[in-house]
Symmetry: C2
Subunit: 307 residues, 2 copies
């Protein structure tokens, strides 16, 4: 996301409130991974544009479709929720042959894998491949885990290695072959649905998925929770060939950042379910300072762009 986009979203938020008021108690509208509506209904929407967020010549149509659904499921995971259904709006260039079939094959593969029925959609023609998916989800019985619930002292954890996709993008831009594991993470990210639900059940106070880079995404939690953060660089798990800078500023990782007062409880829930425990990488502070090994955490975000 570019800074212009952040500003536009801020203005949209203000105008939406001016026209329609604030959300009722218990609901969260603009500003989290997904909106939370009545009855714990979750809604997230995300667009992939060919040549901007993904390149067909790098990933092929099936992975493009997979990713279009997966990044939305990742938003539901970051609320601790489970998917209910998805709708797909597919814009295809004229004369693109069976491109739409390939994209939908990959998308439906992700839908079947993650038990998220595709219940509707729209197909249109346009100047480029654009896929917008909207996913509906159900918050956990204990309530959706928001960005805003973090408290000073909470452990900050991450569910897996970061930076691999950023290294893969750099390799592809240079025309060299990326590490297979990192290319797979870039092209076919796996939404951390089980991890998000387990963390929610184990007392997570705030979560976000790492799409804009760890520094930016942890920053979103700090901003909404009114906390600072202190991260330990040496604890941050890195993907193959990734530097700390790749992890902090890269993005497209789709791992979850989990804040919780009792990291042992979260780790126990993960290991009891046969999953690798999340890694503690720091803790939230009274703030407002955001620190990495005692120095100021750079705030830069990933632009999700591939050209």
């Amino acid at each position: 996301m570019t800074s212009g986009e952040f500003e536009l979203i801020g203005r949209i938020h203000e105008r939406a409130r001016a026209g329609l008021g604030a959300p009722p108690e218990g609901q969260t509208w603009i500003g989290d991974d997904a909106a939370v509506l009545e009855g714990g209904l979750l809604v997230a929407t995300d667009t992939l544009v060919e040549g901007v967020h993904a390149r067909l010549d790098w990933c092929g149509p099936e992975a493009f479709g997979w990713k279009a659904l997966a990044v939305n499921l990742s938003d539901v995971a970051a609320m601790g929720g489970e998917p209910v259904a998805a709708v797909v709006a597919l814009t295809l260039p004229p004369g693109s042959g069976d491109l739409g079939d390939g994209v939908m094959a990959g998308l439906l593969d992700a839908a079947t894998t993650h038990r998220c029925p595709v219940v509707g959609g729209d197909t249109t023609s346009g100047p480029a491949l654009v896929v917008t998916v909207t996913v509906l989800g159900r918050a956990p019985a204990t309530g959706a885990v928001l960005r805003s619930g973090g408290r000073p002292g909470d452990a900050v954890m991450v569910t897996g290695p970061l930076g691999g996709p950023a290294v893969a993008v750099a390799a592809l831009l240079e025309g060299t072959a990326p590490a297979a594991a990192s290319a797979a993470r870039l092209h076919r990210p796996v939404p951390r649905l089980a991890e998000g639900a387990l963390a929610a059940g184990a007392g997570a106070t705030a979560m976000i998925d790492v799409s804009d880079g760890l520094a930016a995404d942890v920053g979103h939690i700090c901003e909404r929770s009114g906390t600072g953060v202190e991260l330990h660089g040496g604890s941050i798990p890195l993907g193959p060939g990734a530097s700390l800078a790749d992890a902090l500023g890269g993005g497209d990782d789709y791992e979850l950042v989990v804040c919780a007062p009792d990291p042992t409880r979260v780790a126990g829930a993960f290991t009891a379910a046969g999953l690798t425990a999340p890694v503690v990488i720091g803790h939230l502070t009274e703030g407002p300072a955001r620190l990495l090994d005692g120095a100021r955490l750079p705030a830069s975000g990933w632009r999700h762009e591939v050209s």
Copy 2:
């Protein structure tokens, strides 16, 4: 919608069922104006692409945004439902200045007018203005009105004049000024939410909104209901300067076609609410023939294209 799009949707439908099975009892997935999920939750998604479905040089950014939400609200209206919330995915060309603000101002105007809070979204950059809106709605207590519920003998009604937007597009393509009323219908369609809800409460068995042209949209009802239809050309209300062909094959009208066994009851509900009664234009038959004044009804649909 082009025939290629219909075919792609058919293949998507088949594959979605293969991977994820048929909807549970009481739910309707792909194939109606909106999907119907558990608890009567409605979901509709529609995309407007600049230069394909609407042209900024004809309508301006605000009307573009209005229409992007309105066409989705029209889908909720066609189920007899009321809107709950919307999410917006906005793709903007690089360097488009305040285009996004203009589009969102019009969209939020429609949202405020029709009490549909915008609860989330995504902004991205891409090669053209593309706006995908997903609207959530609530079905009436008596259940969503599907395309499939029509029965032989039901009166076929329409809530307003047709063909005006098709005439306006033709004028704009020729470089002449369209009739103001038709241009307004084309650029800022008004979703028939009150009408849809009243019809649902007055025994409507099937509904659809007229987006692809009357012939194609009535055909969708016949196909899903397993009926034929007999229409009376002289009864079909026409917009300013519109011919019967404009009404049948034009589209972009966003009036509702309502099928109901008791048209007097529907008319009474409308007039009691201060609305103009819908016009009876024919009736459903045992089928399968689709007739206009005794001759075969042409099946052609509108392509929603403006260039």
